[in-house]
């Protein structure tokens, strides 16, 4: 415990030294204090959600542009936390994946925490061509597999990208669906299939 605290203290001071300061560290500190003071828990949204984890702290302090050498190292750390299916099978059922991609449910204070969480995919991405109501925060994923193939290496990339998008782009806007336990192994496999299965409408 003491060791951890010490480690954290060293890391924090190094972080301050190593990273370029936020554009406005004084106002940032005040913003954090206001956020800590002026929120209340509601439904499943408890106050611990206000605290930054290590990665969020790095992204917040660097305007989402950490220096390359820090980003690469931490991306590797995120990737190391990805848990792959024990049987090595990375592609599931694209039809289930499509249903999951449609759902934006989960984690808000009005969501029933007992219900499964959606993939939220269409909120930000174009995916299958039939769905015209898609967001543009993320890139289009139409023809994802057709363009890239579905080798085991590619399956592994897609699985780990959905599991933890920050493994490839430290301050990506995309949530870390597997890392935070939003999506389980089967669900991620189904989404991999939606993007890579030659039978998926994404690749037609």
């Amino acid at each position: 415990m003491t060791k951890n605290i010490l480690l954290t203290a060293i890391a924090t001071s190094l972080l301050m030294a190593a990273l370029p300061a936020a554009a406005d560290p004084a106002h940032r500190a005040q913003a954090v204090a206001v956020i800590k003071k002026d929120f209340q828990p509601r439904g499943q949204a408890s106050l611990d959600r206000l605290a930054e984890d290590g990665l969020q702290a790095v992204c917040n302090r660097t305007g989402n542009k950490p220096p390359e050498y820090i980003a690469k190292g931490l991306e590797g750390d995120q990737l190391a936390g990805v848990k792959y299916p024990a049987d090595g099978k990375l592609m599931g059922d694209w039809k289930s994946g499509e249903r999951l991609a449609q759902s934006g449910r989960g984690f808000t204070w009005t969501d029933d925490p007992g219900l499964p969480v959606g993939g939220n995919c269409y909120n930000c991405h174009q995916i299958a061509p039939k769905e015209l109501s898609y967001g543009t925060v993320g890139p289009s994923l139409f023809h994802f597999g057709k363009l890239r193939g579905n080798t085991l290496e590619m399956q592994k990339y897609v699985y780990s990208k959905i599991y933890n998008a920050k493994a490839y782009n430290l301050c990506s806007e995309m949530p870390r669906f597997g890392h935070v336990g939003a999506l389980n192994e089967k669900q991620i496999k189904d989404l991999v299939a939606l993007l890579l299965d030659p039978e998926s409408p994404v690749n037609k």
Binding site: N4, L7, T8, I10, A11, T12, A22, D24, H27, R28, A31, V34, I35, D38, F39, Q40, A45, R49, L50, A51, E52, D53, G54, L55, Q56, V58, C59, N60, G63, N64, Y69, I70, K72, G73, L74, E75, G76, L79, A80, G104, W109, N123, L132, Y134, G135, V137, F142, K146, L147, R148, E153, M154, K156, Y157, K166, A167, Y168, P175, H179, V180
Partner: protein, 289 residues
């Protein structure tokens, strides 16, 4: 995980940037260029339907009903102290004066030693001048299908008296500027299960969630589209809702806990957003989907 991340960062910093090789992201095959997917229509059916409804409503904006109720409350005596807001409440333009007050808030109020948006200021007047209890107002601050709080009517009434006026948040006031700068940093703060900040959705141009356009709140036009139409009559549920409510709903979707009603947090974010809309014309209480 937290310790692992920090540990890695610590080790990395100590070793001066030496780190393990990680698998590379496979590159897309450049040769096979797929046909572009069909793009969504500029406006979907629901948007067109809504715009038709809004056009029809222009002459009989349902917000006016709430403005009328707010006017009645503003001018008559209420609360344990039995005074009217018209004779006691200063929204920054003098006691009882409401012309243009809405578009000149948030502003700094010395009597409260706080930067306050319109709703927060009116609540302050109800508490300090009329003697209402803050906790009673904050218990049910927003409308639902069966209930519209007095504060919502009051905000709508006050906002109606800034129709067709330019937004003019006094950012030259150092206290307001300070609130603006803190609000700006709050908008960039990522946390929660999905690592979202306000800026994840509202920090750049031309983005959508599904078919919903996302205004870039750092630009005058973008900020104005976040201000325009609030307070607004929401077709979904048929309720009148305020800008304070809208800020809370953003945090809900950000997967954050709930901002406290009429707090510094909301006032500072509104200062950032409305301040960025300075110079844009406010059309008055509106209609929302």
């Amino acid at each position: 995980m937290q310790h692992r991340v920090i540990g890695a960062l610590c080790a990395m910093a100590v070793m001066g940037g030496v780190f393990a090789q990680t698998p590379r992201k496979p590159a897309a095959k450049p040769a096979a260029q797929a046909a572009p997917a069909p793009t969504a229509e500029a406006k979907d059916a629901a948007t067109l339907e809504f715009e038709k409804f809004r056009a029809e409503m222009e002459d009989s904006n349902p917000a006016e009903l709430f403005e009328a109720k707010g006017e009645e409350f503003w001018k008559s005596r209420h609360g344990p102290k039995n005074v009217s807001l018209a004779e006691s409440c200063d929204l920054g333009q003098g006691v009882g004066k409401i012309e243009g007050a809405y578009v000149k808030m948030p502003r700094y109020f010395a009597d409260a030693d706080s930067v306050m948006d319109a709703e927060r200021r009116i609540v302050w007047c109800m508490v300090e001048k009329q003697g209402f209890k803050f906790d009673d107002i904050a218990k049910r601050p927003f409308a639902n299908e069966n209930f519209t709080p007095d504060i919502t009517n009051l905000v709508t009434y006050v906002a109606g008296h800034s129709r067709s006026m330019k937004v003019d948040v006094p950012l030259k006031d150092p206290k307001v500027r300070e609130a603006y700068e803190i609000g700006k940093e709050m908008a960039a703060y990522r946390a929660g299960p999905y690592d979202f900040s306000c800026n994840t959705c509202h920090g750049s141009d031309g983005k959508r969630i599904r078919m919903q356009n996302l205004p870039n709140l750092s630009t005058p036009k973008g900020a104005m589209s976040g201000v325009q139409g609030w307070p607004g009559y929401r077709m979904t549920g048929g309720v009148m809702l305020t800008h304070q409510w809208r800020m809370g709903d953003c945090f809900r979707q950000q997967r954050f806990p709930q901002p406290k009603y009429a707090s510094d947090a909301v006032a500072y974010l509104l200062t950032y957003m409305i301040g960025n809309a300075n110079g844009e014309v406010y059309k008055g209480p509106g209609i929302k989907r």
